[in-house]
């Protein structure tokens, strides 16, 4: 069993696009999906003579992320140029941070099937994104879209602390949740606003020297990250077992073939010729800024998860789903201020609300109804004035229109009839019309009871309070 003799060593690099409105060094919009080269100006086009001016918001976001990941924030960090030629890199260099990044020495706790683990974060730095090359083989040409050039990124690098693909995926999920929670990233892996590269190597168990590593790219979902790492670990073990040696290289995950393969590139390593960016002075982060960001830091996912369980008596499953999005959990807590049956409230959230959000689209932050309306609806159901099924119908209507539950109930005529006098009359009629069934019941065929309930409900178009109907029928039939 060769695999058992090897210990995989994995480090991750995440590139997270920051949710600023404008780019990192110019005023252009960061909006996704604009016409090619629409969101550009002389600065992000790299025209002669242009100079970068730092977007302060990027620094605030970097500090916020650093604090959320328990990093040390460097008071003076340095911008550097990373030099290489590529058509999507308009200046021929990327402005990034090299030997003095803004955040260092962080950590992130993750849960895995083997229990908890703390992953050390080596560094977080700010940099500009590159543009995008579009190849048009039919016309024999390549085009360059620089809309993305200059969009701010955080690069978040772990120490090689992860030992398998599950830990890698858990780390990425936890990191993404945090970045989304603190409002700096939208967490979208498909559109590439949360991208991950993995450095993978294997070494013999008990060894102290790391094996040669490869860098994996093009994994735009958690599933692909797991598959690519698993494949790569197995591949490296196989190479070593067959007395070969792992080559340090960049490999791409091939979604079609389910394998990693070497990226087509020159053999020699890139020399990026990093040097301090002379167009930007050293970046000073004030204590005031750090305190301001620390104060505005929301409760982080782990803390929220355990608090929701203890404060509302929810299961870990319920809490986890509520915490999937900070706004969802916040809305739950707003409703819970009025409505004290937390379990029932959670059921509505996990059931109806989540279903409607999924089916009809929309965001928790832009719901049409207020927590007060939600409370009013639940009270109608609890008081038995409408049936639970009608409750769902009213809820869906309220979700779509934002109308008051009372208005919807009366417009749709959904009020449940619990009035014993009115129902008694109806029951008398039903019994009078069905003497045969009464006889069967009296002869001991108690299943027929359901038939009477059904008749009453039909006559009431479902608006009769079933508890009252049951009670009255039982008394009548003796």
């Amino acid at each position: 069993m060769p695999a058992g003799e090897f210990q995989p060593v994995i480090g991750l690099e995440v590139h997270a696009q920051l949710l600023t409105r404008s780019k990192i060094f110019c005023g252009c919009s960061t909006q996704f999906g604009a016409e090619p080269n629409h969101n550009t100006c002389p600065v992000c086009l790299g025209l002669p003579g242009v100079l970068p001016v730092l977007n302060r918001r990027v620094v605030e976001f970097a500090v916020r992320a650093g604090l959320a990941l328990s990093c040390t924030i460097r008071q003076t960090s340095i911008w550097s140029r990373k030099n290489y030629f590529y058509p999507d890199l308009p200046k021929g260099y990327q402005i990034t941070q090299y030997d003095r990044p803004i955040c260092e020495f962080g950590k992130l706790k993750i849960d895995t099937s083997n229990g908890g683990k703390e992953v050390r974060i080596r560094r977080i730095h700010m940099e500009e994104d590159a543009g995008k090359n579009v190849h048009d083989p039919a016309a024999g040409r390549s085009l360059v879209d620089l809309n993305r050039a200059g969009v701010p990124l955080l690069e978040i690098v772990t120490e090689p602390d992860l030992s398998n693909s599950e830990e890698a995926a858990e780390y990425l999920k936890a990191l993404r949740d945090i970045l989304v929670y603190i409002g700096v990233n939208d967490g979208n892996m498909e559109e590439g606003s949360f991208r991950c590269d993995a450095n993978v190597s294997v070494m013999r168990k008990g060894s102290t020297t790391l094996g040669q590593r490869t860098e994996l790219k093009n994994m735009n979902s958690f599933r692909f990250v797991r598959q690519a790492i698993d494949f790569e670990i197995a591949r490296q073990i196989e190479v070593i077992e067959s007395r070969g040696s792992v080559v340090q290289e960049t490999r791409l995950w091939d979604v079609q073939k389910n394998e990693t393969r070497p990226m087509r590139s020159k053999e020699e390593a890139h020399d990026y010729r990093y040097f301090p960016e002379p167009d930007l002075p050293p970046l000073h982060v004030s204590e005031t800024l750090i305190q301001q960001e620390a104060a505005s830091l929301p409760e982080l996912p782990r803390a929220k998860l355990s608090r929701l369980q203890s404060q509302y008596g929810l299961s870990s499953y319920e809490a986890r789903i509520l915490c999937g999005e900070a706004a969802f959990a916040d809305y739950f807590e707003q409703c819970a201020r009025n409505y004290r049956d937390y379990k029932k409230l959670a059921n509505w959230f996990l059931g109806e609300l989540l279903r409607l959000l999924k089916e009809e689209g929309g965001l928790v932050s832009t719901l049409k109804f207020t927590p007060e309306q939600f409370f009013s609806l639940l009270s109608f159901v609890d008081r038995g004035e409408i049936s639970p099924n009608s409750g769902k119908e009213v809820f869906a209507e309220m979700f779509r229109t934002g109308e008051e539950p009372a208005t919807i109930i009366s417009r749709k005529g959904l009020t449940q009839v619990s009035d014993a006098g009115e129902l008694q009359k109806l029951i008398d009629e039903v019994i009078a019309k069905n003497p045969g069934e009464v006889q069967k019941y009296k002869a001991g065929k108690t299943q027929v009871f359901g038939f009477f309930v059904g008749q009453v409900m039909r006559a009431m178009k479902g608006r009769a309070n079933p508890a009252v109907v049951n009670e009255l029928l039982k008394r009548k039939l003796g």
């Binding site: 242009v50 100079l51 030099n83 308009p90 002379p278 167009d279």
Partner: protein, 490 residues
């Protein structure tokens, strides 16, 4: 007033007449254009003359002066720009084939400021390609000639800017100075050239050579004119993160206050065995003149001066190698081999687009930044740069300004130094330290050689003390108005 008399006026003299409306800007501009037409075929200072644009601006200025008054003292005073500065809608080549045909979509901040001040812009002036050179012979298009002797170089890289002012083709111009590119040509053409403190003038829209050293500055015929031009461009620019925030003082206000009681330092390292004895004599004479005018002159030492050249030729090419990466044929300027694949396009575009000196510096800089060499070259150069800065800081504890020759020699013959890059690099030996230290410096005429070539005196001052530096320069100029001498052009 005849056209020739008109172009002899200084900026401030013209400004006064424009204000009195005894001369119109259109007349002044036409006088310049006539003179350019007549003499520039000999001097070859201009890469591009924008007669139409300049005349339109001149007429607008005249209209303004008639109706609401001048927008600034410079309103209506025609000037011209080194071709390194971007001009919206007007071709900007930086003296390079790689940018031939490049028409910028925006104005450099200094250009915008000049336009706002009301100056008609006569055109774009020749320079060494990407400002890399000390003679303007490295222009990809043609060399500019020294108006004082047409078979000699006007210095560089802002040779066109200096020659145009010396030949009275324009009233003033802007150049850039990375290692002496304003002061050295000013010295060689008998003009006043000022390099401001690093950060005093915006670099936005000025094509970068070495970002930590580049500064824009004026070239004019008199110290006061240089001060007036500096006043227009010394403005904080939010588009340049290295731009100084404090407001510039009034550079003309204390210009005439003399040097009584000031202390001037004569650095012993700035008098080399190989230098032209006539230059040394003129500068030492100027020092004695300052003493006569009431200043105290003492010998000082700037011990790390001998490392300045080596330091400069590591830092400047390193930054240049990165700054010039954008000229790749992808988005603008020259593209060669576009149908032969990416690598071939890169190679051919840059091989054909850049001249030999630019390639030499890109290679020097790439080498200095390479893995394994970075510490020994670039990093060490940065440390020496700090030492050079400290030399000046301690010198300025003893003196108010440093005086020295600007260039070790007077104007040299065209072709004399082009075969020997090191000899050319030595032209900047007295001007480089100022850029490395980020100080303001000015060159002003301090006499002529026996063969009638101008000699330049350099003054260096503490950061942001341009006003004091100009005052010291003006004190000398008032006593010795070499600027009234005209080059022997027909």
């Amino acid at each position: 007033m005849s056209a020739a008399e008109l172009t002899d006026l200084s900026i401030l003299e013209l400004s006064k007449q424009l204000g009195d409306r005894t001369i119109s800007s259109e007349e002044a501009t036409r006088a310049c254009l006539q003179r350019i037409e007549k003499l520039d075929p000999k001097v070859k200072a201009f890469l591009l003359v924008d007669a139409e644009g300049a005349l339109a601006a001149a007429r607008a200025s005249d209209e303004r002066r008639r109706s609401v008054g001048g927008a600034s003292p410079l309103d209506g005073v025609p000037v011209a720009l080194k071709d390194i500065m971007l001009t919206e809608g007007v071709e900007t080549t930086c003296g390079s084939k790689i940018l031939k045909g490049f028409v910028p979509p925006y104005d450099a901040t200094v250009v915008r400021l000049l336009k706002q001040a009301g100056s008609p812009i006569l055109g774009k002036l020749n320079q060494d390609e990407f400002a890399m050179g000390s003679s303007t012979e490295r222009s990809a298009f043609f060399p500019t000639r020294n108006p004082w002797s047409l078979d000699r170089a006007p210095g560089g890289s802002s040779g066109g800017s200096a020659a145009a002012v010396a030949a009275r083709l324009v009233f003033g111009s802007l150049g850039t100075d990375t290692g002496g590119s304003i002061r050295q040509p000013a010295a060689l053409t008998g003009t006043v050239g000022l390099k401001p403190t690093y950060g005093r003038v915006s670099r936005y829209g000025v094509i970068a050579f070495a970002s930590s050293l580049d500064q824009v500055g004026p070239i004019a015929r008199t110290v006061s004119d240089a001060a007036a031009l500096l006043q227009v461009i010394a403005v904080h620019d939010p588009k340049d993160s290295t731009s100084a925030r404090d407001q510039a003082p009034d550079y003309l206000a204390n210009l005439e206050q003399g040097v009584k009681g000031l202390k001037l330092g004569l650095p012993k390292e700035y008098f080399l065995p190989g230098m032209d004895p006539e230059v040394e004599r003129a500068v030492r004479h100027a020092a004695r003149e300052y003493e006569r005018l009431g200043a105290q002159v003492k010998e000082i030492s700037l011990p790390h001066t001998k490392y300045a050249l080596a330091t400069y030729y590591l830092i400047a090419p390193a930054e240049a190698s990165s700054n010039l990466a954008r000229y790749d044929g992808v988005r603008y300027g020259l593209r060669v081999g576009g149908n032969k694949g990416l690598m071939e396009m890169y190679f051919q575009t840059r091989a054909q687009g850049f001249g030999a000196e630019v390639k030499r510096r890109i290679m020097l800089g790439t080498y200095a930044l390479s893995a394994g060499y970075y510490d020994a070259y670039y990093l060490k150069a940065q440390k020496v740069r700090t030492l050079i800065r400290q030399d000046f800081a301690s010198a300025f504890e003893q003196v108010d300004a440093v005086i020295s020759p600007t260039s070790p020699v007077t104007a040299f013959k065209l072709g004399e130094k082009t075969e020997d890059p090191l000899a050319m690099y030595l032209m900047d030996v007295f001007t480089l330290p100022c850029n490395l230290a980020g100080l303001p410096g000015v060159s002003l005429p301090c006499g002529f050689s026996t063969s009638g070539l101008p000699i330049g005196l350099q003054l260096l001052a503490r950061p942001f003390e341009e006003a004091l530096m100009l005052r010291i320069a003006r004190a000398y100029e008032r006593e010795h108005d070499f600027f009234r001498e005209k080059p022997p052009l027909a």
